[in-house]
């Protein structure tokens, strides 16, 4: 494992050097950024994301290609063979990509540092605690999701529930689908991302009268922007500083696309707790 702090200063030095050299943007210079739309984000026509691309291009003085895969597995493999330079990954996916291809964590939203999963059920359901779920039907989100699968799974285990033996569970593939499955009563309960829950409640996409939360997990680390292992440090630096420079006063539209308020540096060491859980649950 590398030390993030040290490498960050190394990055800073290299970046300062690189910035001194004038660069012309050419097609060969194109930076490829993979941005998986996390659940709840509206898909993603290229024009919706255009301000982000222009912002990155301006800051990095490069042409930026924004690629929007809808599959994490493909995104990780793309980081592995160098067809993506940067990507936006969920916590669990980051761990997998780090283990397989040594990707380097760069930046994350403040909110990514204290994510929560919610356990939801129907308003009139008798469920009160995780232990009540024994023998019930249950919905996880995407199998690769930190907040929709890994952390809820761990929380269940901490409460003495072995999901494989004690629950009849399914993967819905996304947080909104989990909420809709619970709302429709096709499962007794489900686990989903707190921020998606909040935004669906606020927008009226979910029925306030039908759904209630009966458990909230302790906080954990989730999404992070990463660089592929062998990308030039100067590029990593330029990318990271672009994000760190975002402020709500100046860059509201960009931050809205990224659904955040402020970016901070990310650090692999901080993922150790998540890594321990994922390893224990054989998801890593």
């Amino acid at each position: 494992m590398h030390s993030s702090r040290k490498s960050f200063f190394a990055l800073a030095g290299a970046g300062a050097f690189a910035a001194a050299l004038p660069r012309a943007a050419s097609a060969a210079d194109t930076i490829r950024v993979g941005m998986i739309p996390d659940a709840g984000a509206t898909q993603v026509s290229i024009d919706e994301k255009a301000p982000l691309r222009e912002f990155l291009a301006r800051h990095m003085q490069r042409l930026v290609d924004l690629i929007i895969p809808t599959n994490y597995n493909a995104t990780v493999e793309a980081l592995g063979n160098g067809s993506l330079d940067f990507a936006y990954l969920g916590g669990l996916t980051y761990l997998q990509a780090h283990a397989r291809y040594g990707v380097i964590p760069l930046v994350q939203r403040v909110s990514d540092r204290a994510f929560h999963s919610l356990f939801i059920t129907q308003t009139d359901s008798p469920l009160k605690a995780l232990a009540d779920l024994k023998g019930k039907t249950f919905a996880f989100g995407d199998v690769n999701s930190t907040s929709g699968h890994l952390m809820p799974y761990a929380a269940l285990q901490a409460a003495g529930i072995d999901a494989d033996a004690d629950l009849k569970f399914r993967y819905t593939g996304s947080h909104p689908a989990t909420l809709k499955a619970v709302e429709a009563g096709t499962v007794a309960a489900g686990a989903m991302d707190e921020s998606v829950y909040a935004s669906m409640m606020a927008s009226g996409q979910a029925d306030k009268n039908k759904i209630r939360v009966f458990y909230r997990t302790p906080p954990f680390l989730d999404y992070v922007w990463v660089a592929r292992k062998d990308l030039a440090p100067s590029e990593q630096f330029a990318f990271a500083t672009s994000f760190l420079a975002l402020t709500e006063a100046k860059n509201k539209p960009i931050l809205d696309i990224l659904r955040g308020t402020k970016f901070v540096r990310a650090n692999d060491g901080e993922y150790n707790e998540l890594r321990r859980i994922a390893t224990k649950l054989k998801m890593l």
Partner: protein, 438 residues
């Protein structure tokens, strides 16, 4: 929603499907010729093509990412590989249907097997080959909806994103666009049957698609390493214990789906046949069948998962709705092919049109109806593993989950199991077909 917003995904879909089909025909045709010539190793190639067909589209697309990088090239590669397998197999079968005496008369000149296939079988089967090529293009458009997930874009990615965003209005618009595209392609296919050379119109589209999807990388060594690391296939005790249930679920999805489809298709097919119902009604039902047919199973499944929840039922319904469209059209054609005299005899007894359809149309067309249904069942056994990945369960979901969590040994084991499934379904289908054949 502005027009450009739709034009880009539509173009991406067409370009991806066109390029994939073009490569598939360019590679599949020589393979088919090789198989048809029964050259050494032809049987092995034939089996290998079957194995490729057992890998779900999305899994292939992710394998393609490992080789050519993320983006349109991966989508095109996945389609090219899958349809090379399909085209190779079907072309070989079509070349095999060419009249034996014609080929023998060429063999009599001392020509090699290859020359005989090239000079005799190829031109003789050319209409069928071109028609099937156009059909493969139509299928590739539906499949591109799935493989778009690897950064290739297209309508499928838009639909998935819109469903995730619960933007059902946009979902509806996108599906309407997809139905429109499939209609146009369907119409194109009908033109190809009349004027086979029209199929060449796919060539410029394919070339344009290829130009637009240049690979970002070509990581051959990396790919070999990655694929080699997937070996050997392993299922741990937990996965083995769950295997019987998974196999049962896959069978359940396929059988229930096909059964439901056949049930609805009989009724819709009878109404759609230009014989029993009033012409405007028949026309309307035909268009309904077209709509059912043009929405791919996976998209139906994604919508159903929201509506009826996850699990085998959603999968079965997804296959059922799409297959009802396919079977309804085929049943209608079968019923239309029933000899008129037999039905006139019934009409002479004063029977009404419902009675004629029930006692005349269905029993007389029973042979083809059963045959189409069995063929669809075989098809659905494979597709059941594909809809598994959207939460329908079964082998498909197990395969997809193990891939998504990078348990590649396990994934490989599921691919091999799926291959076994597809092979036995094919063998079963052939067996039924031969028992039914007069």
């Amino acid at each position: 929603m502005n027009v450009l917003n739709l034009a880009i995904p539509v173009w991406q879909t067409l370009a991806m499907a066109g390029a994939g089909t073009l490569i598939a025909v360019a590679l599949g045709a020589p393979l088919a010729a090789y198989i048809a010539a029964r050259a050494p190793g032809a049987r092995a190639i034939y089996l290998a093509l079957g194995a490729l067909r057992a890998i779900p589209d999305l899994t292939l697309a992710i394998f393609a990412v490992v080789v050519v990088g993320i983006g349109p090239a991966a989508g095109v590669t996945a389609l090219a590989v899958f349809y090379t397998a399909m085209v190779g197999k079907m072309f070989a079968e079509l070349l095999g249907t060419v009249s034996r005496p014609v080929l023998e008369s060429l063999e009599a000149t001392g020509a090699s097997k290859f020359s005989v296939v090239l000079f005799g079988a190829l031109p003789s089967a050319s209409t069928d080959l071109l028609t099937f090529g156009a059909y493969a293009f139509e299928c590739a458009i539906r499949a591109s909806v799935v493989v778009g997930a690897v950064g290739a874009g297209g309508i499928g990615t838009e639909i998935v994103g819109s469903i995730n965003a619960l933007d059902y209005r946009r979902v509806a618009v996108l599906i309407a666009v997809l139905v429109g595209i499939v209609w146009v392609v369907d119409w194109f296919g009908a033109q190809v049957r009349r004027q086979p050379l029209l199929a060449l119109a796919i060539v410029p589209l394919g070339v344009a698609g290829l130009i637009g999807s240049k690979p970002v990388v070509f990581a051959a060594a990396h790919a070999v390493k990655t694929f080699a690391a997937m070996w050997p296939p392993v299922l741990d005790a937990r996965a083995l214990a769950a295997l019987p249930v998974a196999i049962f679920e896959t069978l359940e999805i396929a059988v229930v789906g096909t059964g439901l489809a056949a049930l609805f298709a009989i009724q819709l097919g009878l109404i759609a046949a230009r014989r029993f119902a009033p012409a405007p009604v028949a026309y309307a039902v035909r268009r309904v069948l077209d709509v059912l047919r043009s929405v791919p199973e996976v998209v139906v499944g994604l919508i159903l998962v929201v509506a009826v929840g996850i699990g085998p039922l959603a999968g079965a319904l997804a296959l059922g709705i799409h297959s009802a469209g396919v079977l309804g059209k085929l049943f209608a054609e079968s019923v239309e092919n029933v000899p008129v005299a037999a039905l006139d005899a019934l009409a002479a007894t004063g029977a009404g049109s419902v009675a004629i359809a029930t006692y005349g149309g269905v029993p007389l067309a029973l042979g083809p109806i059963v045959e189409h249904t069995l063929f669809r069942l075989e098809w659905n056994l494979r597709t059941a593993t594909v809809v598994g990945m959207i939460g329908a369960g079964g082998i498909g979901q197990a395969l997809f989950n193990s891939q998504q969590t990078f348990h590649y040994h396990e994934m490989l084991a599921y691919v091999l199991i799926t291959w076994g499934f597809v092979l036995s379904a094919e063998a079963l289908g052939k067996r039924f077909a031969s028992t039914l054949a007069p």
